[in-house]
């Protein structure tokens, strides 16, 4: 016998069905709600306010965009450790590109192009040179950070000139508008994050490409035999990850008003963490954008809550770790390695 005796007479347990993946998502949604409730109880005047929600969503946007890209990479059973460094490098690159000019468009396109280029290097290393993703992107993690420091001699690049030298009231579609501008009271970066999340969901779940991505992670050999262009798919997800890192750069530099070579530090870990607690499997084959979105929110909530409670770093680190463990255990019913 090759399989366990299927309980064909019995009603399948809830976790048997594909909807089991939804259980994880429900579990994480519960965690998000719990955290919000906890925050509202602990800091009733300042936590459950519109302003604070706006704040948390904005903070979530940068890592959130990275996490969407990371979802695709992890779905193929790969990993990208370099996104944080790429964020820094792309920002500095965009900064030197504009030089003394004031064109936001040049910065935005330049940063995204450079980030995509670095992503393509990763893609080539993994898909064609057959280097293990962990190693290839670890190398880029180092290289990109070095580039970020090299390109402007370790200095940050001020971008305030892109709005006439100061901060207030940025022009629509100028760089700083992406950081501080608002449409109907909601920050532009949140729109960008949500738009990318929706687009990511559609691509992953409702296009051939998305299906192929998950197939490659689920069973590479079977995907190949079913006619999926495996190598091209693997190549594409790293390029995508780079591109989204470029978008994240734009959002971050827009808020900071400068491109700093030391920014993006360890963002990849937050992105990976969000993806994993969201329910996407590190072994590939199972991916959920909704889960990633909730995972990003979870981390944003934890950070905001702990900072507002003014917990010391030590306590913060322990608490964060415990919450992550808790979130994962809540989803255990369906996890397989």
């Amino acid at each position: 016998m090759t399989t366990p005796a299927p309980a064909e007479q019995a009603a399948p347990a809830f976790s048997d069905r594909l909807k089991g993946l939804r259980i994880q998502e429900y579990g994480l949604a519960a965690v998000v709600v719990l955290l919000f409730v906890a925050g509202s109880i602990l800091k009733p005047e300042t936590f459950p306010t519109l302003d604070n929600v706006r704040n948390m969503l904005t903070q979530a946007s940068v890592v959130g965009v990275l996490a969407i890209g990371m979802t695709f990479v992890i779905a193929t059973a790969g990993i990208d450790l370099s996104v944080g460094s790429i964020v820094a490098a792309a920002g500095v690159f965009g900064g030197i590109l504009i030089g003394d000019g004031t064109s936001s468009l040049v910065f935005i396109l330049g940063a995204i192009a450079f980030a995509t280029f670095l992503g393509t290097v990763n893609a080539t290393a993994v898909a064609y040179a057959r280097i293990v993703p962990f190693i290839a992107t670890l190398a880029m993690f180092s290289i990109a950070r070095g580039l970020a420091l090299l390109l402007n001699d370790k200095l940050p690049v001020s971008l305030l000139d892109l709005n006439g030298g100061s901060f207030g009231d940025p022009r629509p579609f100028s760089l700083l508008w992406f950081g501080n501008g608002r449409i109907f009271g909601i920050p532009v970066s949140v729109y960008v994050f949500v738009a990318i999340t929706i687009a990511g969901w559609i691509v992953l779940n409702r296009t051939r490409y998305g299906r192929y991505v998950v197939a490659v992670g689920g069973n590479r050999e079977a995907a190949r035999i079913a006619g999926v262009p495996v190598r091209r798919i693997i190549f594409s997800v790293y390029v995508l990850s780079g591109l989204l890192a470029g978008v994240a750069t734009v959002l971050l530099c827009a808020r900071l008003g400068s491109a700093s070579p030391v920014s993006g530090n360890l963002y990849e870990l937050d992105a990976i963490g969000a993806v994993v607690i969201g329910g996407t499997s590190l072994a590939g084959g199972r991916a959920t954008i909704v889960g990633t979105f909730l995972g990003v929110l979870t981390f944003a909530l934890i950070f905001s809550l702990m900072t507002q409670l003014n917990l010391s770093t030590e306590v913060q680190q322990v608490t964060k770790g415990l919450i992550v463990l808790g979130a994962v255990l809540l989803q255990r019913s369906d996890s397989r390695y």
Partner: protein
């Protein structure tokens, strides 16, 4: 003759399911007792109760006259009960000796006594007649048949009195099966009792002493002699008469769908030419290692040929990518469906549609249409359950194979390449699959099927090509061929002619 194992009214319930509803079985010393049953009948549950992996809900198990305490699978080996699972539970990176003694290594405290390990494992292998297996070699480098011997040696290392073998012949070819039977006979000569599970009725006749049949968690017949006629056994298994295992033989047309000209890829394929016509089922027989699977891989584009041409419906197949082959109308059901054909965590729907997503998407996937179409396809093949959302991992082997076939039906391919399509599939589902293949060929497809079950090839094929050492050495008409003849061609002439005598 003493009874080494007695099972009385064994019941095992899971939440919502009664897997075993009162099973009786007894195994004598030195006998080979075969266990027969369709998938889902409860064979593996029964075995797991005996080997301690599961605890029975009620009933008795007596081992050598003493009640067997439930649970404790690790301790079973010491008691003398050993189980060889179909998916051998060996660690590829360990050496043979380490595997044989895993979890009960000889020690010269506090270190392992390596010398003793090597010596004793070599001795055990010799007892099985396989002293040629090097004890230091890594298990992962051995052929499946040799790995199986290592598993058996491991069983011996615990001084086994009862050996349970779960479909051991599934991964073996004819020659290896004969060797296995010799090993089993050696063991029974030492008084070991053997429970032998298999789907292959001819094996039961060859090696078994008695047979027990399970159906729906109950014993429908026990202690029957191994010579019980097939019909009777099948009826006990399925509860009804299976009209005919094999469908009516097809004749085939003149239209050539697939042509292979002098395909070559050393060392496995050394110049093979063949034709498959619409409406026919062409079998590829031969021993393991004769190059049949490699040939299919060449046709389908998984491997690059060193020479040769492949034509589908008269047009040359140029590139070596599966995507291209699929577009031109080829479909492949690979040998190991779990690791090569299916994404186990996916639903039935997704596994069915993966090769033909174009059909459901212009820009976006029409998920509803996809699900409905797949559902229809699954239903037409009588897949159980035909639930389009069911995760494929949970299906039985036979139904998993139907999902794979549904994939190619959906795609309306022209030529089906099947590699061991009924491996690990129970009798009733096998019959269904034969019928599906036959219907497909009747509707105009060409089918090329690789199989190690000679009976199967003789049963369904229009023509049978026999491969040996990378070449086609014989072509037999399906009508007239016998297993004996097939085997004769498959085996090199210098090899023992008595090998051919073994076949019933």
């Amino acid at each position: 003759m003493k009874r080494v194992l007695e099972i009385r009214n064994l019941v095992k319930e899971f939440p919502g399911v009664k897997a075993l509803q009162g099973v009786d079985l007894d195994v004598l010393e030195a006998e080979v007792h075969c266990l027969l049953g369709a998938n889902g009948a409860g064979k593996s549950t029964l075995i797991k109760c005996v080997s301690g992996v599961l605890e029975p809900t009620s009933g008795e198990i007596l081992f050598q006259g003493e009640p067997l305490p439930p649970g404790d699978p690790a301790g079973r080996l010491k008691r003398g009960i050993a189980t060889i699972y179909q998916e051998l539970d060996l660690v590829p990176d360990l050496s043979v000796a380490e595997s044989v003694f895993l979890a009960h290594e000889p020690r010269r405290w506090p270190l392992l006594d390596l010398d003793k390990m090597y010596r004793e494992s070599a001795a055990l292998l010799a007892r099985l007649g396989h002293e040629s297996i090097p004890v230091r070699a890594k298990v992962g480098q051995l052929r499946p048949a040799a790995q199986q011997i290592v598993s058996i040696a491991r069983a011996l290392s615990g001084n086994v009195r009862l050996l349970i073998m779960d479909e051991p012949s599934a991964i073996l070819d004819e020659g290896e099966i004969k060797t296995l039977f010799e090993v089993v006979r050696r063991l029974t000569a030492e008084g070991v009792g053997v429970i032998y599970i298999s789907h292959r009725l001819d094996e039961i006749r060859r090696i078994g002493d008695r047979v027990t049949v399970l159906a729906d968690g109950r014993t429908t017949g026990t202690g029957l002699p191994a010579t019980t006629p097939t019909d009777q056994l099948v009826q006990l298994m399925v509860g009804r008469k299976v009209e005919q295992l094999y469908p009516e033989r097809l004749v085939g047309t003149d239209r050539v769908l697939l042509e292979v000209r002098d395909a070559r890829r050393l060392p496995a394929v050394r110049g093979v030419s063949l034709k498959v016509h619409a409406g026919e089922i062409v079998g590829l027989g031969g021993l393991v290692g004769s190059g049949r699977t490699e040939l299919l891989r060449l046709v389908y584009g998984l491997d690059q040929p060193e020479a040769g041409e492949f034509l589908v419906e008269g047009k040359l197949l140029r590139s070596n990518r599966p995507g291209h082959a699929i577009r031109r109308g080829l479909g492949l059901a690979p040998e190991d469906r779990k690791s090569q054909a299916l994404v186990l965590d996916w639903s039935e729907t997704k596994n069915v549609t993966i090769a033909d997503l174009n059909r459901f998407s212009r820009v976006l996937l029409d998920v509803r249409n996809e699900r409905a179409t797949a559902h229809e396809q699954l239903r037409s093949l009588n897949t159980v359950p035909d639930d389009p959302d069911r995760v494929v991992r949970l299906l039985s082997g036979g139904n998993q194979q139907k999902v794979v076939l549904a994939r190619w039906l959906l795609h309306q391919c022209r030529v089906l390449l099947l590699d061991e399509p009924t491996r690990g599939v129970d009798i009733a589902t096998k019959a269904e699959i034969y019928r599906i293949i036959s219907d497909l060929a009747k509707s105009g497809l060409g089918v090329l099927v690789v199989s190690s079950e000679l009976e199967e090839l003789v049963g369904i094929c229009t023509r049978i090509l026999v491969m040996r050492d990378g070449e086609i050495v014989a072509e037999l008409d399906g009508k007239d061929a016998t297993e004996h003849e097939l085997l004769r061609h498959a085996v090199a002439p210098s090899d023992a002619p008595e090998l051919a005598e073994e076949v019933v």
